[in-house]
């Protein structure tokens, strides 16, 4: 029969309290940001150097202008395209390799030293060498994102595969499942939540990597935009770029969280702070 239905009144009360919480959080957010912007405005007018510290109003006007001219949009688009390509390659290489790495003792024995030797070298440290080999263009950010995102993805997938319940594996084996079937039906689903942890870490590192490589060696993108406006002393536009970088980073982790929650509905461990 299942549990009895909740009475209508309780349901309504739940919805109302949910809305009340949401409204309270929004009010707090607006209040806090308002205080910050006021403080910023006062500091800016006290310092009085719009080339160094522009006031929030100027930044807002510049934001409208940059969005209106399509400059921001095209830079954002090229940054995102690079991120998607680099990150997708890292996923396609990292997840299968990581799962195999976690399951196979001999693969682990052969490749651990290589991974442990390459892992501490952050993707960003590859920029000078990659700049020489690949030149200025699309390949440099692709490579830096790929390299940065690869190791968190591999290591978390490997940990996830190692933590697969032995009873489940044995049960599947007893029922005569092939290796491929075990991989697809047992290991992958049980590993999925932790794979997403790796993806999230990798996405963060990759996002750093794409901005860094655009700051140094790319002819377009958000990193290029802020560096170019810095040399033009347009610090208000630099700030617009910086906030856009933050906003997109935030939206991406929201998106990844959403995907993670939808694809692993049985996993209750996702929290707001996990972004």
């Amino acid at each position: 029969m299942g549990l009895p239905e909740l009475p209508e009144k309780v349901k309504e009360a739940q919805i109302v309290s949910h809305f009340a919480t949401a409204r309270r959080v929004t009010v707090r957010y607006i209040f806090s940001l308002g205080c910050f912007i006021l403080l910023w405005h006062l500091t800016a007018s006290y310092v009085g150097k719009p080339n160094t510290l522009p006031s929030p109003g100027v930044v807002g006007l510049q934001a409208i202008e940059v969005i209106g001219s399509g400059e921001l949009l095209s830079h954002t688009a090229s940054t995102l395209r690079r991120l998607v390509v680099g990150f997708a390659i890292a996923c396609f290489v990292g997840i299968p390799f990581g799962l195999l790495f976690g399951l196979s003792k001999s693969l682990e024995a052969y490749t651990t030293p290589l991974i442990e030797a390459l892992r501490p070298i952050s993707g960003i440290a590859w920029i000078p060498l990659a700049l020489f080999v690949l030149g200025i263009g699309e390949e440099l950010p692709h490579f830096i994102i790929f390299f940065g995102a690869l190791f968190p993805i591999i290591l978390n997938s490997a940990d996830a595969a190692r933590m697969t319940d032995v009873n489940l594996l044995n049960a599947a084996r007893t029922l005569g499942a092939s290796r491929w079937l075990i991989m697809k039906e047992v290991v992958l689903p049980s590993a999925l939540p932790m794979i997403f942890v790796g993806l999230r870490l990798g996405l963060g590192v990759g996002w750093m990597g794409v901005i860094a490589s655009e700051l140094i060696g790319a002819p377009s993108g958000l990193g290029y935009m802020i560096e170019w406006n810095r040399t033009m002393l347009m610090s208000s536009r630099v700030l617009v770029g910086v906030f856009t970088i933050g906003l997109i980073g935030y939206l991406m982790s929201l998106l990844l969280n959403f995907v993670a929650r939808k694809s692993t509905p049985w996993w209750g461990g996702w929290s707001r702070r996990d972004l």
Partner: protein, 270 residues
Amino acid sequence: MIYKLRSVLISQRWGKWLKPLLIPIVLLAMWQAWAPIEGSASGIAPTPSGVVRGFWELTVSGELPSSLFESLTRIGSGFCIAFTIGVSMAICVWYVRLAEYLIDPLIETFRPIAPIAWIPLAILWFGTGTWAAIFIVSYAVFFPVFVNTLAGLQSLDKRLLDAARTLGATKYMMIRDVVLPGALPAIVLGGRLGMGAGWAAIIAAEMTVGSKSGGGASGGIGQMMFIFLSYSLELRYIIVGMITVGCVAYMIDSVFRMVQRRISPWIQTS
């Protein structure tokens, strides 16, 4: 031949040593063999032995130690600043309701902004010297420290706090004897994560400054690498720099892992 290799790899005595070393040795040998072929075409292909020699040359000339020292000083001071601010701010947010309402949304707003994105503004505000780098490092370290400290504080055992209060502890005693020890594992974890992010950020900062200001004022290991790219094209020196960056990252992480094992042996660190 293949069979012999296989039996050696499987054997208990040699396999344990040979298995992990096989792929690195093969790769290094391939690199050493490939470099002269490529080098005769382009003229500048570094070899592993050249990298080792480069390591020695840079150490003797003092270039590597001095720039490494500079980077380490920056990350050390940036870490101290951010750690102090982060921990005290987290305690403040945890303890005072109003501070939480005011600060928490700001933290959530600024946290997604990659520290590297601030580099152009840091150059505008602080010039191309040490202070810009310290600002970037502090920004990178602050958020992991703050978030983890706050999480540690929020997961403190309520009963311990109540017990201390019942026994008549003052606020100062509570913070010193209950709150800080209880949250210490989380604080150290935050420091470890922050230090990892900070080291990557400082390399990026030094490289950007080095690549844009035409050398000079900034120094540090990131700039050293970029100068070799833009002025002398000594690729093997760049590789020396990369290996150093990796080794330092590894050592910093090991130190934090050691501290973690000391203060919280029940948490597995990997």
